[in-house]
Point group: C2
Chain length 411, copies 2
């Protein structure tokens, strides 16, 4: 059994036993997102810095005592997590930011951070005896769920807006998912998937709706903490769509604080695209989230109705952080910069956090001597069209050395 003590509604504060509720607060409806509360005193008995140091499981499961898993035999085989945290030497030198780290979470099995949440989803689905899982997604949550499901033999029905990038849809289909491309927005796909869950009794992995997804995502922070040898940075930059990843980061740091492994929280910076920045505006304003119609190249964070808005805004505000919005041009330029300076290939939403860090630095919102972590949330191969826009064009030549000479002269 896990060390989960209770589930607590973010809106009304009601508390439930984990086996009482599957998704949101029965009193508050689908906005009543439940937070997972652990018994840290019990965890401390089985989990320490020393036990971590001798643990040879270099995956997200090295943090098993901090995860909502009752039956570890249901954990899937795909190797999720323990992605590299780079010291980003060339960028440090180029920008004169000596304390910059980049976490490349595009290195997960289906090439995005979402694999961390889906890994939990398939455990919970199996624990409940479900045979079918579902979710709505801009693409990455879906492909991660489909991959994880395939690895353990769960069927899945996936709802994506039909505008999702081709690579993500192709990935889903190869993983054997039944893919329903919805003529509508991500927000409409989200609502439809919840209706289908209620109607057909499937297990639903939707961000925010499912209380355990934040728990999977928090492992990115747990890893960063361990990879930085329990040093806490001043800022962590995270791209934000529904707001579930940034709350995961907050939860990871809070867990480690509760255990006494670290002594403070970092400031969290929510980065969104200018064409879709409801969380940024709320964080920098009075906390109220106003829904918008998304207009950005960063499809993974093109979320007009952020489902985890209450928790995300709370987490950023409590941390003393802020929000910052970047243009699509700044995102594309961040893709190229990350790639050509450090060899890290990010999709648009994956590079958005980095673009926000660059802008915050330029605008003096953070200083060059701050300790900064940036999370890259997804791999650039997920969205080749955007990569083409960011990368530029190749030079076509005949197979003749004279053509090569000409190119060299022109450069």
């Amino acid at each position: 059994m896990s060390y989960v003590k209770k589930l607590k509604c973010l809106l009304c504060g009601s508390e439930y036993n984990p086996d009482e509720v599957t998704y949101t607060c029965p009193k508050c409806g689908n906005d009543g997102i439940l937070e997972v509360i652990y018994d840290y005193e019990e965890i401390k008995k089985h989990f320490s810095k020393e036990s971590l140091q001798s643990n040879k499981d270099y995956s997200m499961w090295r943090y098993l005592p901090l995860l909502p898993v009752n039956d570890p035999s249901k954990i899937g085989p795909l190797k999720v997590g323990w992605t590299p945290l780079y010291e980003a030497k060339r960028i440090r030198e180029d920008l004169d930011v000596p304390y910059l780290w980049i976490k490349d979470d595009g290195r997960n099995p289906t090439a995005s951070l979402k694999d961390r949440a889906s890994a939990i989803a398939i455990v919970k689905a199996q624990e409940l005896g479900k045979k079918v899982v579902t979710c709505a997604s801009t693409g990455n949550a879906a492909s991660s769920l489909a991959g994880a499901s395939a690895s353990v033999g769960l069927k899945n029905y996936i709802f994506v807006p039909r505008t999702a990038p081709k690579a993500k849809i192709a990935q889903l289909l190869v993983f054997g998912a039944t893919v329903l491309t919805v003529k509508g927005s991500y927000d409409e796909a989200f609502d439809l998937s919840i209706k289908a869950t209620e109607k057909f009794g499937w297990y639903n992995r939707n961000t925010a709706f499912n209380p355990y997804m934040v728990e999977g995502k928090k492992t990115v922070a747990l890893e960063i903490i361990e990879q930085m040898n329990f040093e806490v940075p001043d800022y962590v930059f995270v791209s934000v769509g529904d707001g579930c990843i940034i709350s995961g980061v907050a939860k990871g740091y809070r867990d480690m604080l509760s255990l006494g492994f670290i002594d403070k929280m970092p400031k969290l910076v929510a980065v969104q695209a200018e064409g879709c920045k409801p969380i940024v505006d709320a964080v920098n304003g009075d906390g109220t989230v106003k829904f918008v119609k998304p207009d950005t190249i960063a499809d993974s964070i093109a979320v007009g109705i952020p489902r985890n808005r209450v928790m995300a805004v709370r987490d950023v505000k409590e941390s003393g952080g802020f929000g910052i919005a970047v243009s699509d041009e700044e995102i594309l330029s961040a893709i190229k910069y990350l790639g050509s300076t450090q060899g890290i290939f990010a999709e648009p939403a994956g590079a958005t956090g980095f673009a926000g860090m660059l802008k915050a630095l330029k605008e003096g919102k953070i200083s060059k001597n701050d300790k900064i972590v940036v999370i890259v949330t997804g791999n650039g191969l997920k969205d080749v069209e955007s990569a083409q826009k960011a990368g530029g064009t190749p030079i076509e030549i005949e197979p003749r050395i004279e053509d090569v000479e000409r190119v060299l002269k022109e450069k």
Copy 2:
């Protein structure tokens, strides 16, 4: 300094000191590929099963004593290697092959096994004081070289056939490479890159031409050996283009045999596409490689003039293995099967080894109780068009629950 003792020509047997020659045998020209010979007695003093066990560097560099690196400070920051070796439980059950392992090398930084060789290339380039590196590639070697170069600040000029998949070219450009798309085949691009190397003094990473690429690639086998706890499988299935990866696998096992860490070699199986199978024919015939015009969807192994043919044919024959060719349909079907059964997403050449294993099993060339390792060499996101062919099509619906019900009924 490394433990490299000498470089030995595969054709004439001439031996050279490592600082005497950079690429091929001066006597035999570009066909005179050099093999890297180590001083195993010296290596044994610094490298043991025990030293491995306590080594926390979970990357290809954990095998540093077995690598041709003189100056470890030149190693790039990208985390290459220590990719997962899956026990492939669902496939084991489905096919009734209880001893099957799958190595997913698409989990490398630029999503292919080639990262292992490029990681070595940028070390050697820097050791020689070179500022520019180059290669010809069907795509993966190039993107791996471009990513590795970006991470340490080397310029690069990349020659690819203009038919290379868009994702691979986009990746190259994001990594800041100057990409020359050659109006011609990979084979023509290869020759052109060597001419350019001679003319402009660049460092050349071409497969086979550069003696150290096999050394990087062998780390995939070193990892498999360690991940299997020094048990040697009966067969290792490898997709073959130039023949450099399969020789890398042979070299890895030979190294471990020379050190006494294992007691036999596995049989190596070279898998190629039916539309391009010069190595398969040579291996199954008298060893002579006849050049062909490639015609296959598996672009990464569409190599009509396999540059490492002599070594590859020797290695497969010496191992007691064989060659097997699969159709493009079998490759596409292997992509879908790997994805939907195990959550592993492979590009066509990446799934070719697996397709060959399926066929060998069906044809009785191997038996169900053999211990089998299959290497997946590249990620499916590299070639979305092929993934679309393999995966099938999504179902478009309006955002209405009635539409979902209709789909369920139809299925």
